[in-house]
């Protein structure tokens, strides 16, 4: 694995940093306090090609690679976890499944709108009774006499939902019997637009962190969509969902990585300024060792994340890599941000400094797009431990 960034990637990193510092960071506190979706920032990012980084130009993408996308989520998350997850959910959970499973017509129609940021994308798999257990789905899709699909059911905890125009939705299209004679739900994927009849966005969740991210319920009541909205083949939905989540985990791992790095940067700055007992607290060995440990852990997580991204780029199997990256990066982010708050002491617990926000934001990375426990299941299964 070549660990050197290309000239273009170095330049992208510089641009992302510049953008994050000047456009995203100044709003981060406001976004959190007001639970506000940073619409203007999203428009600015879209203008710079950040809403479709690794898709080919023919579909309106910027023509860069997966690692370049990872770095974007990482750099935004360093200063604002909300902004990081908006790009991640849009790109990995909506653009990617359409790009990887869509027909040419679907790709030509949806991707340019998504990559340009004209439309925002979201992903609807989770239901009240089916989170990590995707087989617990209740939403159904039935073909009517005109050949349209009619969807019924609801989805919850959907990232970007309040602002998204396009949703990749999973629904049961039948019951099949597997080789051993067990009955299984046949799941299919659909592209649903916000304006489709019978589709509505329900209640907005109040969250502990990533408060500006719009997390809502989706409700489908006889939601009728044309036949050509089926994404991939009928009955292949479960595979599409799992593959999409593999990619999504790289995005969330990047968000976690950014949060950890951002908290360390803030803490280094603070410990060099804050004086206690007549010395800067950076002069205490506890501070030094804590930060050394945190940095080492974060760098280790970074290479897992980058390596998963490169494998995805090279079309190598990366399911286990994505799971490891997300597990390690998320747990690192939670641990690091918690320790950073501790180094800040009382100030760290106040909202005057950003580390408490980072700590709240970090927690979700251990939960969404597969909890840490699910990642352990994926990794152990790949190891053949069963």
């Amino acid at each position: 694995m070549d660990l050197h960034l290309s000239k273009e990637q170095e330049m992208l990193r510089k641009m992302y940093r510049d953008f994050a510092e000047n456009e995203v960071k100044p709003l981060a506190e406001w976004v959190d306090e007001n639970e506000a979706f940073p619409e203007e920032t999203v428009k600015k990012m879209a203008k710079l090609g950040m809403m479709g980084i690794y898709f080919p130009k023919e579909y309106g993408g910027a023509g860069a690679d997966v690692l370049s996308y990872v770095m974007a989520v990482e750099e935004m998350s360093k200063v604002c976890g909300t902004t990081g997850v908006i790009i991640s959910a849009h790109t990995s959970l909506c653009c990617a499944p359409i790009y990887e499973n869509g027909t040419e017509e679907q790709k030509k129609y949806y991707l340019p709108k998504l990559c340009s940021g004209e439309w925002i994308g979201a992903f609807g798999l989770t239901e009240p009774g089916a989170g990590t257990d995707a087989q617990g789905q209740q939403t159904t899709a039935v073909k009517d006499e005109n050949g349209n699909w009619v969807l019924n059911g609801s989805k919850i905890f959907i990232t970007n939902a309040g602002y998204a125009n396009v949703f990749v939705i999973f629904a049961i299209t039948g019951i099949t019997t597997d080789k051993r004679g067990r009955k299984k739900k046949e799941i299919s994927a659909f592209i649903v637009e916000r304006t489709d009849p019978g589709f509505s966005v329900g209640k907005h969740e109040k969250k502990m962190g990533i408060k500006g991210s719009s997390t809502c319920e989706l409700i489908m009541e006889d939601c009728t969509i044309p036949a050509d909205r089926l994404l991939g083949k009928q009955g292949k939905g479960f595979g599409i969902a799992m593959k999409t989540l593999d990619g999504g985990r790289i995005g969330i791992a990047s968000q976690a990585l950014g949060l950890a790095e951002g908290a360390i940067e803030e803490t280094i700055k603070y410990t060099k300024e804050r004086v206690q007992f007549g010395r800067r607290i950076s002069q205490f060995q506890n501070t030094q060792f804590q930060l050394a440990d945190m940095h080492a852990k974060t760098e280790a997580a970074k290479w897992l994340v980058y390596s998963a991204a490169m494998k995805k780029q090279n079309h190598e199997p990366y399911t286990m890599d994505a799971a490891m990256a997300k597990l390690v990066a998320a747990e690192t982010a939670s641990d690091v941000t918690r320790r950073c708050v501790q180094l800040f002491g009382g100030y760290g617990y106040t909202r005057e400094y950003p580390v408490e926000r980072m700590m709240r934001d970090a927690k979700i990375t251990e939960i969404y797009e597969g909890t840490s426990e699910v990642q352990r299941m994926v990794i152990s299964a790949n190891l053949g431990v069963n």
Partner: protein, 266 residues
């Protein structure tokens, strides 16, 4: 129509400034950035491109690593870049620099409806001289301290800043405008732009390329051809330590005020 923009790569003096033992700036130890006013000039040109579809050519005189800066400007949307770089050009003062850049601009070619843009001044020298001097060498009208630009065919109307107000000036192309950073907020490089910037043309003009221009004469370029020389350079002494007050409460403030009072400062 095209826009030719002169840009300079400068040390980033917003952070730590490294000074060598002999009192000169340790450029190698410092990060480099594109000069702020020059970025405003680039943005002004790109906005004209957005409106008219004209070509934007960026030109910089500097050592080979300045290519990195030019690639970034290409990633912002500029179309072509020229790096003017030669040992013979080293050590040039503003007069000599303007001769070389004027020769380079002539080589790029100035059409009737072209505009040459410069930043007002560079943060390393703060002279604000090279722009007007290029204009003189090219024999074109100049407007400096430009804070607003409207282009209508060959007529360019600009707002020129004065200390206590501004002038509105109309000038015909070809002309040279020096831009202040307040003119605009320069755009970021875009992801797509970055992916393309290494495929865009970047030409290097060396001494051989420009030597036939009458402006390029060993007696008027480089260190030897520069009218001005450094007689001495030095570091200012560190000012004597003042008095740090103990604490920050009412007693501290009252003590300070009584000192100021005793010394008849207030």
């Amino acid at each position: 129509m095209k826009a030719i923009v002169c840009v300079k790569q400068v040390p980033d003096t917003s952070g730590v400034v490294a000074v060598k033992e002999d009192g000169t700036m340790d450029r190698a130890a410092m990060a480099t950035i594109t000069n702020h006013d020059d970025l405003a000039a680039v943005e002004a040109a790109l906005r004209i491109k957005d409106a008219t579809g004209c070509k934007v050519v960026v030109v910089s005189m500097g050592p080979p690593p300045a290519e990195g800066m030019l690639r970034e400007l290409l990633a912002m949307g500029c179309d072509e870049a020229v790096l003017v770089s030669a040992r013979e050009f080293g050590g040039s003062d503003t007069y000599a620099t303007s001769q070389i850049l004027a020769a380079a601009i002539k080589k790029i070619g100035v059409d009737d409806d072209d505009i040459v843009f410069c930043g007002r001044q560079a943060i390393d020298g703060d002279t604000a001289q090279v722009g007007p001097q290029i204009a003189e060498k090219l024999g074109m009208p100049q407007v400096s301290y430009v804070a607003e630009i409207n282009v209508d065919g060959k007529a360019v109307t600009v707002k020129r800043l004065l200390e206590d107000g501004y002038m509105t000036i109309k000038v015909q192309t070809p002309c040279l405008l020096t831009c202040v950073k307040e003119l605009n907020d320069a755009r970021y490089m875009s992801v797509g732009g970055i992916m393309e910037c290494y495929q865009k043309p970047l030409e290097v003009y060396n001494y051989e390329t420009l030597k036939d221009d009458p402006l390029i004469d060993v007696t008027t370029i480089g260190l030897k051809g520069s009218p001005t020389n450094v007689y001495k350079s030095f570091s200012p002494p560190v000012k004597g330590a003042g008095m740090m007050m103990e604490g920050a409460d009412k007693a501290t403030v009252e003590k300070l005020v009584s000192i100021l009072n005793d010394k008849h400062i207030i």
